[in-house]
Amino acid sequence: MKIINKLLLFVALTASVILLSSCNLADSLTTLPVNIPISVNFSTGGNNSTVAGSSEFCLENNETFQKYQDKIKKIKIVKIAIRTVSYSPQDMKGDLNVSVKDDQGNVLFSESLTDINPGDYINTPFEFTLSASEIEAFDNYLQSVLDANRSICFTGSLNLQITNGNAPYVFNGALDVVFEAETEL
């Protein structure tokens, strides 16, 4: 009789675990974390030894964001990288500053790279390591804008102080950013 009671208890526990895991699975089937990659292009150039450019970008312009816009519960930054599209002269070198501001002009991210060769970042973009405070700044802005139901827009800027090569200078680059949106299907 003891064996029977133990077996019944075992089966009941197993059934409970299966039911609980089914509910847990139901949760994982109703949420979908979506990666949203965005690229912002910059065209800069001139005869001065400093070339600079900025560009505004909004998540609303991204097709993936549009698809899930009404279902997004949370959004956060995942990765950010700078990429060279084209440049001249070929022996150009310099110090690069990249920054991202929110729609109120607050700086969310600002990083500098010294003595870079732009050609190094054509096939292999430079991926920045986001600090905890940068992640927090991004995520706070993203959540506040999402809660206020406003457009999520940023201004990306780059500034290249050229230390090698002769004018005229051309530097076309791109800022690549990945956001992760938690959506509820």
Partner: protein, 292 residues
């Protein structure tokens, strides 16, 4: 009502909002990467439907009948939660692994066209499954049937049908201390415009009755083929020419052989059983049936 229906179907076939979930995730990938991404799911479907075929090798020589439910708990090994993409364009390197359907985060790879992102997984270490089945036995041969009436899943329809034939071998061998039987199983699950799963299995199993307790075990060869149909939505913009193209991908499950051990408790007309099968994905199966 929809929620209840979803829960019911999850419990039955871990496939409620699977339709939308799979379409959204599959849409990122072309065949080469989808093969790796969806492979563990193909295996799980095979593991589920090839489970629960037996708990007793004794087959009635006159007439027998049973009806019940089989529930499964399929364990996903860690090495089936990630994969290395093979479909990245030139200039991209798979610097890290990305999630399969059962993994967690989808990776983002940096390269000359910007970031390319891969879909996330369901973040599962196990998946449940369950389905009803009934058997009728006559003259040492048993017919098993698994069936669900057509169920609407969103705009699609879900159908399940399966059968098995078991024959007692031990009836031909006098004084054998255990019962032995062989069994063939076939199952088919279809969710229109999403997946079509076909499973076959052949096993030999033995059981020994010890009062109300029955111990059993078996060896099983099995195969699973899954056709996934999905629309390539190309969120990364890597192949505009194929955007919105409907793709059908055929995959074979990695489940090919399993060893099962288990025990059943016979209480008058009711039988409770539990077993564990070792294979590509381990599966714990329980069953509750009314038998005579």
């Amino acid at each position: 009502m929809k929620k209840h229906l979803s829960w019911l179907i999850i419990t039955l076939l871990f496939a409620s909002q699977v339709n939308a979930q799979l379409e959204d995730r599959f849409g990122y990938l072309l065949e080469k990467d989808l093969s790796a991404y969806a492979q563990p799911l193909a295996t799980s479907l095979g593991v589920a439907f090839n489970s629960g075929g037996y708990h007793d090798a004794s087959v009635s020589k006159l007439f027998g009948f049973s009806i019940g439910v089989k529930g499964m708990f399929i364990f996903i090994p860690d090495n089936q939660k990630t994969f290395t993409p093979q479909g990245l364009p030139a200039g991209y390197n798979a610097t890290e692994e990305t999630a399969t359907i059962y993994g967690n985060k989808g990776a983002a790879y940096s390269g000359p066209l910007g970031y390319l992102t891969y879909p996330p997984g369901l973040d599962r270490s196990w998946v449940p499954a369950a389905f009803p089945q009934a058997t009728v036995s006559v003259l040492g041969t048993e017919l098993l049937v698994r069936y669900l009436p057509t169920i609407k899943v969103g705009d699609e329809e879900l159908d399940l049908f399966g059968f098995g034939i078991k024959h007692s071998v031990s009836q031909y061998i006098p004084l054998l201390p255990v019962d032995i039987a062989v069994q063939f199983l076939y199952n088919k699950l279809t969710i229109t415009n999403l997946l079509d799963v076909k499973n076959t299995a052949f096993n030999i199993h033995a059981s020994k009755s010890l009062g109300v307790l029955l111990v059993y075990g078996g060896l099983q060869y099995e195969s699973t083929s899954v056709d996934f149909t999905y629309k390539f939505t190309d969120p990364n913009g890597i192949s505009p020419g194929q955007k919105n193209q409907e793709i059908t991908l055929s995959l074979n499950g990695e489940n090919s052989f399993r060893v099962t051990v288990g025990a059943a408790l016979k209480l008058a007309f009711f039988v409770l059983n539990a077993d564990y099968s070792v294979g590509s994905q381990g599966v714990f199966t329980t069953g509750f049936s009314f038998e005579f």
